[in-house]
């Protein structure tokens, strides 16, 4: 089994921690002039997203995690799983709710997403930074009101709720930033 020694520790390194894949966020070498050396790391559990601190004896090794980020196209949701396809190999994978927890409200069929695979199975999905989605529900628009700066909630085709300007109407197509959930503009079409 592949493993990494503490001397290989650096930000981004993927390792196994308590049975889960994890990524090193920060690595610090700690050594008293006389005494045992340690590597003190901050490490992110890639399944839960939680960052914890751990300490290892310098020179020890820990198991590597087979984790890769892949660009894949979102296909559909069958009620249980969210399905993605590799655009060149056409290979498909199904992601569970836990992998799309934070991203499912932005997933639109045919959009390209970053899928994190652990031993070939998806554990996390990152939507594109910007998505284009249609408004399915919102209060009637106030025509021409582009100046007052007021906002109202709008429900989009994927179920996401975003604050939009008052002039937006049902059926409008919007560009939204998935990193902060903010409205950017009306899309041209």
């Amino acid at each position: 089994m592949a493993s990494y020694s503490t001397n290989e520790f650096k930000r981004g390194l993927k390792v196994m921690l308590d049975g889960d894949p994890a990524a090193i966020v920060e690595n610090e070498f700690v050594k008293p002039g006389k005494g045992q050396a340690f590597n003190r790391v901050k490490i992110r559990n890639l399944k839960t997203g939680r960052v914890i601190e751990r300490t290892f004896k310098s020179g020890d090794s820990i198991e590597a995690a087979d984790v890769v980020d892949t660009e894949m196209q979102y296909l559909y949701n069958d009620g249980e799983q969210w399905h993605f396809m590799h655009p060149e190999s056409f290979e498909q994978v199904g992601a569970d709710e836990s992998a799309v927890r934070d991203s499912k409200q932005w997933l639109k069929e045919q959009d390209m997403c970053t899928v994190t695979l652990w031993n070939g199975a998806p554990i996390a999905v990152l939507p594109p930074n910007h998505v284009t989605l249609t408004v399915t529900e919102t209060d009637p628009g106030i025509r021409g009101d582009t100046a007052t700066g007021g906002t109202k909630p709008a429900i989009l085709e994927t179920g996401a709720v975003v604050q939009v300007p008052l002039f937006i109407e049902i059926g409008d197509v919007l560009k939204v930033d998935t990193r902060n959930g903010e409205y950017i503009s009306r899309a041209k079409e």
């Binding site: 006389k34 005494g35 300490t55 290892f56």
Partner: protein, 323 residues
């Protein structure tokens, strides 16, 4: 980085501060009557301390036609004690030293160590002189002394000289440190608690002298008999940065030889490189080392503290990645 890594990582203002401190240290010791000395960086013997790894190299030439192994020193301690035993009186040295495997925010595999020896001083007198030097370089700062035992009791409620490894392990868990795979010995658990819990709690900008170490961590210090026996050793921290380590120097050649043998045995058990015992140091101790105290102080960290920077790269022209 490609194309740019010929440049220094320290700004010139930082290198000027480094030069100012080096000059200040020399002036401080000359004013106090210490002799500046230089001792070999390369030596057939090295430190046997299992926690310190030496670099080794080879010399071939006149005097060693078939080649001989030489270690780069990890501290100038042994030859400086030989000078003291030979009657040098008080001496100091600013030396580049080399330690394999040590690199990080506060470590570079080669760094500058200030070391000085004071015949006739006790540890209290030496701590006073260390504080005077550091304050001369960094400005006035509060000074406090805490015994190793008090530090553990105050911050963890645990008695470090008597607690079992299992008790130290649960103290670590209670302090929020998870399991550390493979950590077993009492001294390793004490090191963990000291570096991860106690040191970070030391008051900022204050000089903290930690003294009366466990006898098992005496290194080259005398052990004062008692219950428990205690090592006549101190460490200085500025804030939570470990800066200096001082000893009431062990002068008993037989005891020194036993410690060297025990350390070599520990190295052998763990499959580490064997390092020859320094027979000339043992001979010097046998001839008679005057009662003395000595201390080693990390210059790079002192410059970091003077500048308020938190990475050793900022005070080195070229850290090892650019050496």
């Amino acid at each position: 980085m490609a194309g740019d890594d010929w440049r220094p990582t320290a700004a010139f203002a930082q290198l000027r501060e480094r030069a100012r401190i080096l000059a200040g240290i020399r002036a401080f010791f000359v004013a106090r009557g210490l002799l500046e000395v230089e001792t070999p960086y390369l030596s057939a013997a090295g430190t046997t301390d299992p926690q310190i790894e030496s670099f080794a190299t080879e010399y071939t030439g006149p005097g060693a036609a078939r080649g001989c192994r030489l270690f780069l020193h990890t501290s100038p301690e042994f030859p400086m004690k030989r000078l003291v035993a030979a009657g040098s009186g008080p001496i100091f040295q600013l030396a580049r030293v080399f330690r394999n495997g040590e690199a990080g925010r506060r470590h570079n595999p080669e760094f500058t160590l200030l070391e000085w020896y004071r015949p006739g001083f006790d540890l209290d007198a030496l701590m006073e002189e260390v504080a005077a030097l550091v304050q001369a370089m960094l400005g006035e700062r509060p000074v406090r002394k805490v015994s190793y035992q008090e530090a553990f009791v105050q911050s963890l409620g645990i008695e470090p000289h008597r607690a079992t490894a299992a008790e130290l392990r649960s103290a670590a868990a209670a302090a929020g440190l998870g399991e550390v795979p493979g950590l077993e010995g009492r001294d390793d658990w004490l090191s963990l608690l000291l570096t991860h819990v106690i040191e970070p709690g030391f008051p900022a900008d204050t000089l903290t002298f930690l003294y009366d170490y466990p006898a098992s961590q005496a290194a080259l210090a005398r052990v004062r008999l008692g219950d428990p026996p205690l090592a006549e050793r101190f460490e200085l921290y500025v804030g939570s940065v470990e800066l200096a380590n001082g000893f009431h120097e062990l002068a008993d050649a037989a005891e020194q030889e036993r410690r060297f043998a025990a350390e070599r045995e520990a190295r052998r058990r763990d499959g580490q490189v064997d390092v020859s015992t320094d027979e000339r140091l043992l001979a010097a101790l046998a001839a008679g080392l005057p009662d003395c105290c000595g201390v080693a102080l990390g210059i790079d960290r002192l410059v970091m503290l003077a500048l308020g920077v938190d990475s050793i790269d900022q005070v080195l022209a070229f850290p090892f990645e650019r050496a």
